[in-house]
């Protein structure tokens, strides 16, 4: 019984972080129709920004916004410099459909190499703001702690903030319009370029939160090669696909589902499936419900 409960709790916490990653992938997708394979790399870089703030000011609560702002600025710069050049140079021709994928992969590699050059000498640590000691219930310690509670709260808060932002303003609509019909959007007075940059910046900030939380959840060690970040790379994408790529709520549900599924596989089947399980889950989703859980019908083949 306690094993089952713990399995779910492990999955929910991991899934919460996947959700954040999925949210940032969805934001970029919605604003520019690009799957950003560098998202985990950008999260890694932002987390190092947060680490530098920790070193200077020794407070997680300052480091987190620093990481978010740093991540947002960096993402905005990537959109302004790299993505616009890409649209200019490679939006036609046989390579057009694959150019963004290749470019973001290249960006991932560049970020990893540069981060390793600057900080890679040895692992650094970020201490979490809350205790990671598990809650006790009836003499049993659960795999759930104040820190893990914070992770889930962050996911909910971030999603609420984004939802309010999208509902109270026209940003959500503008994002969609800019991505689907940039010309029409422009004619109706939408600053398309600005909206796209905004989409990337929001994604950068969300990714930064994911990076910071993933680090403190995984014992606080930060390294450019850590498995935690390889996980974010794949899991964020898969969670976003499960959620249908278009919806924030879908991304959160996708992340939680993926986290719980992987947790069950590892606990009850075999830990050797650690890397292959996400692939199988992804394939299953693509075949059974290709439009995702909350997704438009024609999404997949566009």
């Amino acid at each position: 019984m306690i094993q089952l409960l713990n399995t779910i709790l492990i999955g929910v916490t991991a899934g919460g972080i996947y959700s954040l990653m999925a949210i940032s992938i969805v934001l970029v997708w919605r604003s520019t129709r690009v799957i950003n394979f560098a998202q985990a790399g950008m999260a890694l870089l932002s987390t190092y920004f947060g680490y530098e703030a920790m070193v200077q000011l020794n407070s997680f609560w300052i480091a987190l916004p620093v990481a978010m702002i740093g991540g947002a600025i960096f993402a905005a710069l990537v959109e302004i410099i790299l993505m616009r050049l890409l649209v200019k140079h490679s939006s036609t021709g046989p390579i057009a459909s694959v150019a963004p994928i290749i470019a973001t992969l290249g960006l991932l590699g560049v970020i990893r190499a540069v981060v390793s050059m600057i900080w890679g000498g040895q692992d650094v640590r970020i201490t979490g703001p809350l205790s990671n000691d598990g809650f006790s219930v009836g003499g049993e310690t659960l795999v759930f702690s104040p820190l893990k509670l914070l992770i889930l709260v962050s996911v909910v808060v971030l999603m609420l903030l984004l939802s309010i932002l999208f509902q109270k303003t026209n940003i959500g609509l503008a994002l969609r319009a800019s991505a689907y019909a940039p010309e029409i959007a422009r004619l109706s007075g939408v600053k398309v370029d600005l909206v796209r940059t905004l989409g990337w910046a929001l994604a950068g900030a969300a990714g930064a939160v994911a990076g910071m939380l993933q680090t403190v959840n995984g014992n606080g060690n930060l390294s450019p090669d850590s498995i935690e970040f390889s996980l974010l790379l794949v899991s964020g994408f898969i969670a976003a696909v499960i959620g249908g790529l278009e919806s924030l709520v879908g991304a959160v549900i996708g992340g939680l589902l993926l986290g719980i599924l992987i947790s069950f596989v590892l606990m009850y089947v075999s830990s050797a499936l650690f890397f292959i399980a996400p692939f199988v889950i992804l394939l299953a989703v693509l075949f059974i419900r290709p439009q995702g859980i909350i997704g438009a019908k024609a999404g997949r083949r566009a």
Partner: protein, 429 residues
């Protein structure tokens, strides 16, 4: 001015010509590849970057620190040792191409301390140092196969094998934890299967075994492992995995207030690395640990004192841990092998020196070396210790109790080995 320059040129040419003639007149010495009149060149490939580099990327710095000390104190018969290090990122393809560069381009005399079973195996098969006659000294893996002098005639093991460690652990359990429920965490590959074989020989019965896939170590998986050990009510939990496995296990256990009697294998049991990575000292307290070399904090030990002093000067700010100690120990043994290989060392004389005198090489280990004309087995056992309240491995009751055994079905016996005193100034004699 001009005339003088011309005169200088003429003189210089004449001198050069004479030197050149003299050089051709003297019969060329049978110099070995990588050995010149002033230096001996050695090569090393290991992961300096990537997931597998944690801790191990300190080994080259450690070896260089000792060689620099040696070079400053006269080198080997006046020759200085140069160590060329290449990063293989723990990828066999890279290990092969980097080793090729070391042998064919940098023209090193010998390879030392390559790391990782898959890499050493790939290099043995593709580069084939055996056929080229290139010695591979003191490989950093506990896979017992590399000690097979028939299969790998130029390769020398140094670490005790995983089988030996599991047998000694099993023996300790039989003596101290009879009747208790034992749990085992092991890596689900040949590293783990060597361990299982050793435990089988020792007759250890497990209440629960938890395999983990290499690369799956993470906070989330560790919570899963603990849940399984808890469910089986294990009294003693053996961690027979890599550093990151012990790390996640112990840190997560602290959060879940799970505290069985821990027993931590040497591969993943370096206290300094674990504590730096966030394992609270209190969790390590009273855990049982194993090591072939003295505790890295034991400053009463002449080798630990000597090595840590050199290292602190060479690499300031870097903690002196087990990887550093083992790296310097291998460098020290390499220096002795080169010295024993004679005034004009060759690859052949180097290996002959290890075969004939290797077993008596001075080194920090508290267990004997197994080198002989027919054996390339390195260290042959471990001492058993307990972690102190500050989370450092220390001998139980203050005295080192070591056990020796082999990688086969031989018995585990209490070691009677008396380590010889360190040569003067830590230089090969």
């Amino acid at each position: 001015m001009k005339a003088m320059n011309r005169r200088k040129l003429i003189t210089a040419s004449a001198v050069l010509a004479i030197v050149g003639l003299a050089a051709t007149a003297i019969p060329a010495q049978a110099a070995e590849v990588g050995v010149s009149s002033t230096q001996i060149k050695l090569g090393m490939t290991l992961p300096m970057t990537g997931t597998a580099s944690l801790g191990y990327n300190k080994i080259p710095g450690a070896a260089k620190a000792y060689f620099d000390y040696l070079n400053a104190n006269g080198g080997i018969y006046g020759r200085k040792i140069t160590l060329v290090v290449k990063d293989d990122r723990y990828v066999p393809t890279e290990a092969v191409s980097k080793t090729n560069e070391l042998i064919l381009k940098d023209k090193v005399m010998a390879l030392m301390a390559p790391l990782g079973t898959a890499n050493v195996k790939a290099v043995a098969s593709s580069v084939n140092p055996a056929r080229r006659g290139v010695p591979v000294l003191f490989v950093n893996t506990g896979f017992s196969g590399f000690a097979d002098a028939k299969k790998y005639p130029t390769t020398y093991a140094v670490l005790p094998s995983y089988v030996m460690e599991a047998k000694i652990m099993g023996q300790y359990i039989n003596e101290n934890f009879a009747g208790k429920k034992i749990g085992l965490l092991y890596q689900d590959d040949d590293f783990g299967s060597d361990a299982l074989a050793g435990f089988k020989t020792a007759g250890t019965k497990f209440a629960v075994t938890v395999p983990y896939a290499s690369g799956s170590q993470a906070a989330a998986t560790a919570a899963g492992w603990i849940t399984k050990f808890k469910a089986a009510e294990a009294d003693v939990v053996i961690l027979f995995g890599v550093t990151s496995a012990s790390l996640y296990m112990l840190a997560t256990a602290a959060q879940l207030k799970y505290a069985p009697q821990w027993m931590i294998g040497s591969v993943g049991g370096d206290a300094t690395t674990l504590k730096l990575a966030g394992v609270p000292a209190g969790v390590l307290y009273n855990a049982i640990g194993f090591s072939p070399v003295p505790a890295t904090t034991d400053m009463k030990d002449e080798y630990v004192k000597f090595f840590s002093d050199i290292y602190a000067k060479a690499v300031p700010g870097s903690a002196f841990d087990l990887n550093v100690l083992l790296g310097m120990n291998s460098a020290f043994m390499t220096a002795q092998a080169l010295k024993a290989a004679g005034q004009n060392p060759t690859r052949k004389s180097l290996m002959a020196a290890i075969d004939s005198k290797g077993a008596t090489f001075a080194n920090s280990a508290l267990v004997p070396l197994g080198y002989s004309a027919t054996s390339h087995v390195g260290l042959t056992g471990y001492w058993v210790g307990k972690f102190s309240p500050t989370g450092d491995l220390a001998p139980i009751g203050g005295t080192y109790v070591a056990y020796t055994t082999d990688s086969g079905s031989g018995a585990v016996v209490k070691s009677t080995y008396k380590r010889p005193a360190m040569p003067a100034k830590g230089l090969p004699n």
